[in-house]
């Protein structure tokens, strides 16, 4: 059973990383570690900031043929 559980957990981790669902947690960890004095944005604000960045430079995350 443990290997099955591990496999499922690995898949979950992989999908979350691949879709960037984990981006917020990663960003929070980054801010807490490197800029302890800075305020941590809410998830909603963070996700907005992320799409706005893509808006201002569409080459970010560009995919091709």
């Amino acid at each position: 059973m443990t290997w099955l559980l591990r496999g499922v957990r690995w898949m979950r981790w992989y999908v979350r990383e691949l879709t960037d669902e984990s981006a917020y947690e990663r960003y929070v960890a980054h801010v807490r570690k490197d800029h302890p004095a800075a305020a941590v944005p809410s998830r909603r604000d963070f996700e907005r900031m992320r799409t706005d960045r893509q808006e201002s430079d569409p080459r970010q995350g560009f995919r091709c043929c």
Partner: protein, 712 residues
Amino acid sequence: MRRAEPRSIAVWTLVALVGAAGWTVLALARDEEVSAAWMVAAALGSYAIAYRFYSKFIAYKVLKVDARRATPAERLDNGIDYHPTDRRVLLGHHFAAIGRAGPLVGPVLAAQMGYLPGTIWIVVGVIFAGAVQDMVVLFFSTRRDGKSLGQMARDEIGPFGGAAALLAAFAIMIILLGVLALVIVNALAESPWGTFSIAMTIPIALLMGFYLRVLRPGRVSEVSLIGIALLLIALVAGRRVAESSLADTFTLAPSTLVVWLVAYGFVASILPVWMLLAPRDYLSTFMKIGTILLLALGVVVTLPTMRMDPVTDFASRGDGPVFAGSLFPFVFITIACGALSGFHALISSGTTPKMIQKETQVRMIGYGSMLMESSVAIMALVAASIIDPGLYFAMNAPAGVVGDTVQEASKAVANFGYSISPADLAQAAKNVEESSLLSRTGGAPTLAVGVSEIFSQVTGGSMRAFWYHFAIMFEALFILTALDAGTRVGRFMLQDMLGNVYKPFRRVSWKPGLVLTSAAVTGLWGYFLWVGVHEPLGGINQLFPVFGIANQLLAAVALTVCTTLLVKSGRLKWAWITGVPLAWDATVTLTASWQKVFSDDPRVGFFKQRSIYQDAIDDGKVLPPARTMDDMHTVVTNSTVDGVLSAALALLIVIVIADAARVCLKHIRDPEASRLSEAPYVESKVTAPAGLFPTAEEKREARRDGTREPTR
């Protein structure tokens, strides 16, 4: 010198034998039908050998990747676009970014020359050119904080060559979008099932976008599951719609679809990213990975036999109906993605280098994911080669040649030297519940027929129509995303260029500028789309070669930048690593554009074509396949535009290569004087494995540093 272990020698000998057996069977097969398993064996065996030996040689001997040098992700970590990403995740990201509809289209069209030329180019091309380009660009961009290809061209070659490269990239983007849009128009025209299910992806994406923005921000997996479920419902519902009274609403003529697509492209590109682009991107990525896995599984389970000839007569005669011209150079520009694609250089130099943990991982991510992309191209070639060649040519020849009825089509196919009865043609369309499959050019419908053939062998014949439309939806989804994203990138380039003349254009938030440049970009690709749909000689037949030339010319720019960088960074001895692929690519592409401009064969040379039709107009005659005098004038205008474009693109690339050669020569004469804009060395503080599986030594390192693999 390290001695190889006997076990490893045995394993690699076995791999080599499997690959060699595959190639032998493919090469020696004459009149019997060969199993696709041999093609898979030849490709996979070659990939494994190339990855194990050649890519390792390039990484450690040529590039000298340094595990102790900190990557931009480590040095500039901002938790958003620069952050060290697990190599397996980044492999997925990078593969999803490079592998879109491209490798599925080119090989299908190139199948008109038989499956052998395409297979050889896909496998040999990826090993020595495509994967090398992706990996070397990724390496150099990583050493430059993730600078883009255009910036690297400007920094390392000079402003003149840099500007030419930028202009080429813009032109290529426009042609790419026009041709991709043409591919969906050909797939969706007169097909209510397809059109309905694709139209439904717009409300589905809007719903997903709203969910992610307002309801539950960032919950991508759950919204993707919802989206995919809705997508499959739309697909199933499409059949009902096609049988209902709504069918007429969704049965659109090609010229109507053009208007819808151009309008869609314009509106989508000025809407905020979160509304359509981002959610659509999640959908297409999941669909891609799912479909590719299914297809790989289907090919391995059913092991279909290939019914296309290994090499057809069109390869030497150069009069193929899908695209004109002989094997050299046209197979090599028709198959771009999958063998060598310049567009990948834009991704290897943009997003990925900002996320890579270790320089040593460029081999797995750059070279490895390109091998994966190449295997997708092989599967597309398999799908096109297992269908009846008669059906293949009836689907892929221009409408003017095939005619409007199955009887005419059957005769036209007989003229090509193949045979299919009118009844079989009608049955093939009925099997996938389409009104007609005649002249469904562009590759997507052919691939869909091949895919439905393979999948329905697993799931039973009754699912055939479902799988056909599944495959169409899968390709159309990509292409619609590409139209949106591509228009944005084209607009960004245009804003940047116009910003030199009138400053406010450069401000992305300046709304009038945004709308104007968006309209300009959609107008430009919309023009090519319109032309392609109304081209009497067949839009794909005329435009695909121009697209192929454009894409391979971008590869020439990328390889030129790589070669210049190898020379300037003191690796002159190894400059052939990208220099030889560059020489090959430049020869192929410049020959193709030369023939497209100067050939005396009116099927190949645009200007010869133009003069023949112009002379006929002067004499008041109408030449088939044109049907009216208007058609004649259309041909004259289009061949002039296409001819001028082919010449201009070739000229731009000659400028880039000449400018780079000048820089290289200058460096060789006086190495001290040239400047290399590499980011300074900083020692890395983290350890991470280089390959997919950590070696014993890397495991020891990880234990020592306490950097364990995640999730354990």
